[in-house]
């Protein structure tokens, strides 16, 4: 039965919030680990790598689920620039969720570091050692992380704008705990 959905499916909401927590942890661990020489450095970098692989896997599943189930329509009265911003920012978020772990993995490969995650799982090298590629990937991974954090802030600001100012039900498409996907429970 195909109808107009007012919410993301429960699986989509679960994946969203799970990945949201992972990404926030990831970004904070990332900026923290590169600015410390304390013994925390080693567990932080180990978690960073493992969490990156977890986010990659979850994001790929999420993309597949999204392609299968789609998304609730945005409100008809949402101004065109906001609709466009919503669409573009979501493309960017998906690109970063999947791209950042791959950039990090490729960056470590290009430096000839063994890539070990979840304690003892050895990942194959994505690239041969290369100074040029390592530099390029390091820059991309580093600067895109700040762009990613900026985009996350924009995403949160927009979500709160929908929830508190427009009160148009967009926030509830993802925020509701209800298992239902149909009735818009906007309050």
């Amino acid at each position: 039965m195909i109808g107009v959905r007012k919410r993301f499916t429960p699986l989509q909401r679960l994946l969203h919030w799970l990945i949201a927590v992972c990404i926030l942890a990831m970004l904070f661990i990332g900026v923290g680990m590169v600015t410390t020489v304390t013994p925390k450095f080693l567990p932080l970098i180990a978690i960073h790598k493992s969490l990156g692989v977890a986010i990659l896997a979850l994001a790929v599943i999420r993309l597949a689920v999204r392609l299968r189930y789609g998304a609730p329509a945005l409100p008809a009265d949402l101004p065109m620039p906001m609709k466009l911003a919503a669409q573009l920012s979501h493309y960017a978020l998906y690109a970063l969720m999947i791209g950042m772990p791959l950039l990090g993995w490729a960056m470590l490969s290009a430096a000839a570091y063994p890539v070990v995650v979840f304690g003892s799982m050895h990942l194959p090298a994505l690239l041969p050692q290369s100074d040029g590629l390592h530099s390029l990937l390091w820059d991309a991974h580093f600067y895109l992380a700040f762009a990613f954090f900026g985009l996350v802030l924009l995403h949160v600001a927009a979500a709160l704008f929908h929830a508190l100012v427009r009160r148009d039900g967009v926030f509830e498409t993802m925020a509701s705990l209800s298992a239902s996907t149909r009735d818009a429970d906007t309050d």
């Binding site: 680990m33 410390t36 050895h122 949160v156 100012v165």
Partner: protein
Amino acid sequence: MTEPHRSALGSLMVIAIVIGAAAAAFAYTAGWFSPQRLTPTALVDSLAPAAGPSLGHRRNHAKGVCFTGEFDANGAGSELSTAQVFARGQYPVLGRFNLATADANAPDATVRVRGLGLRITTPDGQEWRSAMIDPPVFAVSTVQGFYELQMALKSADASAMKNFIAAHPEFLAFVDWAKNAPWTDSYAEDRFNSLDSFVFVDGAGAEHAVRWSLLPAAQPVSISPDDLAKRGPDYLEQEIARRVAGAPQRWTLAVTIANPGDPTADPSKAWPADRRTVEVGTLVVQQIVAERDGPCRDINFDPTVLPSGMRTSDDPFPAARSAAYMKSYDLRTSEAGDYPRTATGTNP
């Protein structure tokens, strides 16, 4: 929808506060509010000489020469660790003899501390990387102390060194070695020590705090720094190339096991000489390869790259070294254009 219970302006303020707080937390984590934090960048920068770093080179141990060879394990290490590298057999080795200087062109006789970087690869796909040096103790007991030492060495203030030693009396044991221990006339005659403590885990899951050393098979021949200087600025790498071309050079890898209570967290403190030592195999250096396009140039001898069966201990240095070596690697790979390469495409 319910009645608006807050003005749009109030809502926008709530949003601004949430976003502002998140951004501030991020900036705090990144250290933007704590300029005093000792970062990998600060640590690496502290090593740079007044004239600036040798671009494209390691930020410390900048001068060196590559080698290849094998580690011939005798099987005795298996009682201490499940790492495959200790199972009887031969495993390929990539390494680098080096001098502890930030100047890639420093004359050999001007550098007191010599080092050896090592990467042993095993068929299970794991690696053991290590970077050892020839003093019997490390210069300082804390990472902060290492940073303060670099600052004191560079300081124009005549009392800087005196103040440093007053704050870090452990430095005197290192000074005693630096002043009084004989220099050798070959890398092949040097003993190289991990100094840092690590933990080996055996098949029963028992943990052993260890340090290790490479003991040279060649008899040490003493030489004064003045006489070494007369042999030329790059004598050591030329000599080791000639010597290895004549015959492979060997070191015994000896693992020393701590007794309970030994200072595992402080590499400036030697362990008593009677500690149990297990000889686990022999490093055989079979070929010297020029550093410039050699296979070790693009390898980071990060001492925290350990196979399963080994892990870091409560010694704070390996983590700091890992962070600093990575920063050094990131810098020198981005400066590859400044490195005096002679060819391309000779990576391992």
